[in-house]
Each structure stands twice: as C-alpha cells, then as structure tokens.
C-alpha cells in the first residue's frame, strides 16, 4: 500500500496489478537474500567447529584441516559466500557435514512425504480460507457487524496463535476419536495421547468404541476408556511438552 501511494504514477501507468507484482517480487528477492545470507552466517556464528563436531573427538588435526580445506572453510568469508551463492544458483546444495551426504539427496528423500501432506493442506486452506475471509470482509464492510468482526478475528487469531503441535493433537482427538471421520492413520501409535486428551478435559469416562474401527488403547476387556494398561498416558504427553 505504501509503495502504491509513494509511486502513484508508475502504478497507474502499468496498472495496479503490475505494481503489485513488482512490489511483491522486490519483497521476495529481499527476503530470499536475507534468508540466504542468514543461512550462510549461521554456520559461522554458532559456537564450535562443525567439522570437528562431525568428525568426533579422536579426529586427527591433520584430517580436520584436510576436511576444512575440501569444504572450502579455510577460505576468506567473502569468497566462501561467493561460492555458496554461486552454487546455489546452479542448484548445487553441497554436502551435509554431519550426514556426509549430498544435501539434495537428503532433501529429495524427505520431500515426497512433506509434499503429500503440504500440498493437499495448502489446497484445503485456499479452498476454505479465501472464500471465508472474503465473505467475512464483505459482511463486516464499513464497520458493519462489529461483533461478527470481533468473533471472526478472535477465532482466527486464536487458531493462528495456538502452536501447531497442540492444534494437531486437538484435531486428531476431534476427527479421529470423538467423531471418527478419519480412520487413517491407524490408531495404535497415537491412541495413548488421544485417550488422555479424550478423557481429561471432561474428566468423564466415555465408552470405548471398540466396535467403531479404531483400536482402543488399553481398554482390553473394559468398557470405559482409561489410561492404557501397558502404556501410561502421561509419558506420551511429554512428547509435545518438549517440542515448543
């Protein structure tokens, strides 16, 4: 918006969309440049020597020097930065110091799984968020429906502020346990968490749905859902506690 007002002539000459695209492109380039520089700087800013850490305490100093040389870490910083950016433009990500494998290979190994989740999620977000947001904007235009606006911004703000891992556990509890819409992934690995979540907020005992397709955790022979007999629920909860 600020660029539009500061350069109204340019904007009108090329049309508002051209200005918008230009602005956004400029911002993208600046962000990427900052990101690349920060990624480069991190390895030099964090204490400790990554090569030494990767090669272990018994590594011979001569070997460490040789490895530093082959990684180009013994050159001047500007030179290293030049190499880094140059290789990046050619799509060469180099080798991981820790895993001692090409970074592209490591990324390629994990990317399909990430995309499998991220792409549908993104599509879903676009399908829901854009129409809902537009509708809310239209409905609350010019200061109408103040309460509705407050409710909308409040709820979306809350959803945005809750950490993803908490939200995820909540969603699993809601859509796989309370209303078992999704029966995939199979339950056993996460039911201890679900059971805990399922039970503690209301502190009421609910019937186990052994018949409804998902495997109840530790409910063998019982009709109520409690902490699993062979896996105390509290310890699975710790997984999310260490995460933030």
């Amino acid at each position: 918006m600020t660029a539009l007002t500061s350069n109204p002539l340019g904007a009108t000459a090329r049309g508002p969309w051209a200005g918008f695209v230009l602005r956004r492109t400029r911002r993208l380039v600046v962000s990427l440049a900052a990101l690349v520089t920060a990624a480069f700087a991190v390895i030099h800013l964090i204490p400790g020597d990554p090569v030494r850490a990767a090669l272990g305490p018994t590594a011979d100093p001569a070997l460490i020097e040789a490895r530093r040389h082959s990684l180009g870490l013994d050159e001047s910083l500007p030179k290293q930065f030049g190499h880094f950016v140059g290789h990046l433009f050619q799509g060469r990500l180099g080798d991981s110091i820790g895993a001692q494998m090409p970074v592209s290979e490591i990324v390629a190994g994990r990317l399909p799984a990430t995309l499998q989740i991220a792409v549908p999620a993104f599509a879903l977000i676009l399908l829901i968020a854009v129409p809902v947001g537009m509708t809310a904007a239209v409905l609350t235009k010019d200061g109408r429906r103040r309460r509705g606006e407050l409710a909308f911004t409040g709820i979306t703000g809350l959803l945005g502020a809750v950490p993803e891992f908490l939200l995820a556990v909540g969603l699993i509890a809601a859509f796989a346990v309370m209303w078992p819409l999704f029966r995939w992934p199979p339950a056993p690995a996460w039911t201890p968490t679900c059971c805990r979540y399922w039970r503690s907020p209301s502190s009421r005992r609910r019937p186990c749905r052994a018949s409804s397709g998902w495997r109840p955790c530790g409910c063998s022979g019982r009709t109520t859902c409690g902490p699993p007999a062979d896996a105390p629920a509290r310890t699975t909860g710790r997984e999310s506690e260490t995460a933030p």
Binding site: P47, L63, M101, P186
Partner: protein, 535 residues
C-alpha cells in the same frame, strides 16, 4: 563408538533442535502411526525392530562415524576379528592372526563372499587398509579401525594380509573389530554405499527410508560369524526405526511395536516397573578435565588437588545420575576393551576440605576476605559443561560451584549449548570442563592426555604428565593385552596427579521385549540376536 559427551539422553537432543521441533512432532506423529501398518507392526513374524535415536546419515563404511551408522553397519559388514566382553579376541573373517607392536598378520578364511557374490579376498582387505590409511581419502576411521601410518600387503596364495606401521600401534588386531570389510568393487565407489549395502556380514540392506526406517534382511549362506557361527539362528529381518524421542521409544517398546531401544532417561523407571528387561554396558559419564595451559588455575597441581578435595564426589555422582551412577573404574574405555583393570579407585584425591586449605596455603595462597588469593589475584575457576547431558548434570555442576564458592573460590558454571563440547576444548578458553571421552582402546587416549595441544594435536588441557608419557610409551611397545599393566599404571598416574577426575560411570541400557542379545560399546552384537524371551 567414540563420544565426547558420553551418553547423552535423547529427549535432550530433541530440545537442541527446537526450530523444527513443532513440525517434526506433527510429522513424527504421523510417521509413527503410518509405520504401524508397515514392517514395524506386531511382534510376530521373524522381523525384529530396533529404535534408533537419530537418522544414521551416510552408511558408507569408510566415512560413517555416527554411532547409529556404526551400529547398523555391524549387521551388514563383517570384521576380521571380534572382541568378547572380557577383552579376548575372537576369530571372525580372519581365522588366525599374529601381532607385534608395529605389525599384524591376518589369515583370511576361505569362502567369505559379499552380497554381489564376489569373494572377499586378502587383496580386498589389504586394499581397504591402504584406502583408509591414505590421508587423501580423509576417512575418519583412520586411527579408529586402521592405525595411522599403516600399510598393508596381501599374499594371495597364503591368504594373508600383513599390516605394518612406522609408529607403534599395539592394538592393530583389536582395532580390526571396527573395520567393516568391503569387497573390491565397493572400495572403488564408497559413496555408493551411503544408502545401500554390499554386505560381507549376516544382513543386507533392502530398504532405506531416511528419517524413518532401514530394513535389513538376513543373507543366505552366511557361515563366517564369530568363531565360525552361522546365520541360521538369526532373525530373518532386522528393522532400525528412527524414533528421536525416548519416551515414544519406551511407549512403542511397551506396546510391542518395537523390540529393542536404548533408554537412558526417566523412562527407565516405568520399563523397570513392568519388568521389561535390559542389557547394559558401563560408560564413563562424569569426568572433569583441567586446562593446564599457562595462566589457567589448573596449571598449579595444588589448586587441582584442592579443588577436587573440596568436592564430595559421591554426592556429585548421585546428583548427576539421580542415584543410578557407580564410581568410575576406567578413564574412558568402554567394553569391549583389552585392558579391564581398575585405574581410578583409590587414586582420586579424597574429600577433605581442611587438607585442601592446607594444600593451597602451602602453595602460597592466602585467604583474604573469604577468597583465596595469590599475588593479589583471586582464585577463579569456570566449569564448562555440555547442556545436552540433561538437567541432572547441570544440577551437579551447580552443586560443585556452590561447594567451591563456600570454600572461597570464585567459581562459575559455564554451560556449553553447542552439540559438542570438543569445540570449546579445542578453542582453549576454559578452566575446567565436564568432558568424559569414550574410546575402546587405551592408546586412543594418549592424544588427549599427552602430546601437542591444539591446534597441532588433541591434548586439549595441555597436560604434561611425565609418568603417563613414559609409561604409555613403554606400553605402546608391547602388542595387545601384553601392555595392559603398563597402560593401567599410566592411566592411574593421570588420576593421581588430578589431571583428570573420572568420578561417575553410568550404564547405557538396551531394553528388549521378545528378543535377547548381548551389547557392547558398539551396540547390539549381531551374532547374539535371537527371537523369543529366552526364558
């Protein structure tokens, strides 16, 4: 295998990687769930599932150094020899051997083959020795599996490999247990083995899903195990499943979705309570190392002894391990090691604050306004410790600092947040460090406690202990276990001189359900893995 920080608990490691933790947790949740339908499911069949704390990274035998990778490679690649828990050397691919302090000769068993069908010959073994020994190849295994300055020659007719060194290398044979044997074709392109195997051992890698699981399948016709054992009693399939969180690993173990995992943290309690059994080996957990460079407080022997005498090491031991630790008996060698004598008990300065005060006074220190000073300078000491060792270590460090402060020393705790404390040690700006160093052989320790300090060497504390220097040199002139008495005397000299203060060892526990096995410092010993409870 070699760890600067001993046995870091996995839940702490999770904290070290916070930025991605939220994503990882969610993805991890799905990953663990998804894997249940895969090879990890159920306890039946002939598949054994182990949890590993981290992805192994590269599995290439000549470059892999991560503990996980080394452990997984023991399943796929065989060794010339194996070392039993009591330190005795057991025949593997080598049916016999002989050694001097600068050479070793192995006779290769006939009929050993690699996964691609090619025979493993004496030529292949010699080529691998020479490959790792060549500094050009930058193999981190140099000094671990192959001695520095090694050169190997093969005699095809006699099926022998002769390894010679120009520097004394008393443990060439024992080191060979760390050498994953490769056929010639693999040696030409070792990087190809980063995510695949050309196994010479009992298992071959059939599926590698980085960050999730690695599946190994038993090879047919494997007959060259330790003491000539075969693969017929081994499980048909072994899966290593990446489970970064120790609590999750414990849950999976209790619910029967995995069969084995290393659990070192608080989850031990509930596993013990439900009578899940474990195998363990003792690893040095707490050791203080003094920086003796000029100008550092540790340069003065009286200060070193006084600082140790002020501490109640038993109290520190209990705090650092929650009562699960035992007094250390070695200065860093983990099983299987040839020299098993106790080098610590009775050699550490005793807990005696009065004697500590007398020592400082005799060395010219005076107590001035509650603080020990010499030539107008107060006695100041900073204790650097790695934060990835868990909150109990931090508490023990705080306790030590408190004891020193009330004694009249200006002490501070210096937490080191990076992944390894070695970087700090090599940097030189430290007084005293919590730095247990784990190795398997006594001669691997000499670089840390003798010789040039960084940047030329690894003598981080600039130690100059003449007894250690002399005895270690004598010991290095005797091959294998013949030098043990001398090695033990040398190491005791370090402890007596308060150069290092090894004060607590802790078991590294491998919990198991539905399987039995033996463990050593490299992890599960493949040839001992059996399905069933063994009851």
């Amino acid at each position: 295998m070699v760890s600067a920080t001993g046995t870091d608990t996995r839940s702490r490691r999770t904290r070290e990687t916070r930025p991605a933790a939220a994503t990882v947790t969610v993805l991890g949740l799905l990953a663990t769930a998804a894997a249940c339908g895969g090879p990890a499911s159920g306890g039946g069949g002939s598949s054994v599932v182990f949890a590993v704390a981290a992805d192994p990274g590269t599995l290439s035998p000549t470059t892999a150094l991560a503990t996980t990778a080394l452990s997984m490679n023991t399943f796929a690649y065989d060794r010339l020899v194996h070392v039993a828990a009591d330190g005795t050397v057991v025949p593997g691919v080598a049916e016999k051997w002989s050694a001097t302090a600068t050479s070793a000769r192995f006779t290769i068993r006939p009929g050993v083959s690699c996964e691609d069908g090619s025979p493993l010959t004496a030529d292949d073994v010699a080529a691998e020795y020479n490959h790792i020994a060549d500094p050009k190849n930058q193999s981190p295994m140099l000094g671990l599996s192959v001695p520095v300055t090694a050169a190997a020659k093969a005699d095809r007719a006699k099926r022998t490999v002769t390894v010679t060194t120009t520097k004394p290398a008393p443990f060439i044979v024992e080191m060979a247990r760390m050498l994953p044997l490769l056929c010639r074709k693999s040696l030409a392109a070792p990087a190809a083995l980063a995510r695949a195997t050309n196994a010479s051992g009992p298992y071959r890698l059939t599926e590698a899903v980085p960050g999730d699981h690695y599946t190994y399948v038993r090879r047919d016709g494997y007959t060259w195990g330790p003491r000539g054992s075969t693969g017929k009693d081994l499980p048909g399939q072994v899966v290593f499943k990446v489970v970064p969180n120790e609590s999750t690993a414990a849950n999976l173990l209790m619910s029967g979705q995995i069969h084995g995992a290393v659990i070192n943290g608080a989850d031990q309690d509930r596993l013990d309570a439900t009578k899940v059994r474990n195998r363990s080996f003792e690893a040095l957990f707490g050791q203080l190392l003094f920086n003796q460079a000029a100008g550092r407080p540790g340069a003065d022997p009286a200060v070193r002894r006084a600082l140790v005498s002020v501490l109640d090491l038993k109290e520190l031991r209990n705090v650092a391990t929650g009562g699960k630790g035992a007094p250390a008996t070695a200065i860093g060698e983990t099983v299987p090691t040839p020299c098993t004598g106790d080098t610590v008990t009775g050699n550490l300065p005793a807990h005696d604050p009065e004697r500590a005060a007398a020592r400082l006074t005799a060395a010219g220190w005076t107590k001035d306004g509650g603080t020990w000073t010499k030539a107008g300078k107060p006695l100041t000491v900073g204790l650097s410790y790695p934060t990835n060792q868990g909150p109990q270590v931090a508490s023990a460090v705080e306790l030590a600092v408190q004891r020193w402060t009330s004694f009249g020393v200006r002490a501070t705790a210096k937490p080191i947040g990076s992944s390894s404390i070695i970087g700090t040690l090599a940097g030189g700006d430290w007084d005293l460090a919590w730095a247990p160093i784990g190795v398997t052989l006594p001669d691997q320790l000499t670089q840390f406690y003798d010789g040039p300090p960084p940047p030329k060497g690894n003598n981080f504390g600039s130690l100059t202990n003449p007894d250690y220097h002399r005895l270690a040199a004598l010991a290095a002139a005797r091959p294998g276990a013949d030098g043990c008495a001398l090695w033990e005397a040398a190491e005791a000299a370090l402890v007596k001189n308060a150069d290092i203060v090894p004060f607590v060892a802790r078991p590294v526990r491998y919990y198991a359900k539905g399987i039995t096995f033996e463990v050593d410092g490299s992890g599960v010993v493949p040839s001992t893995l059996r399905q069933g409870d063994g009851r």
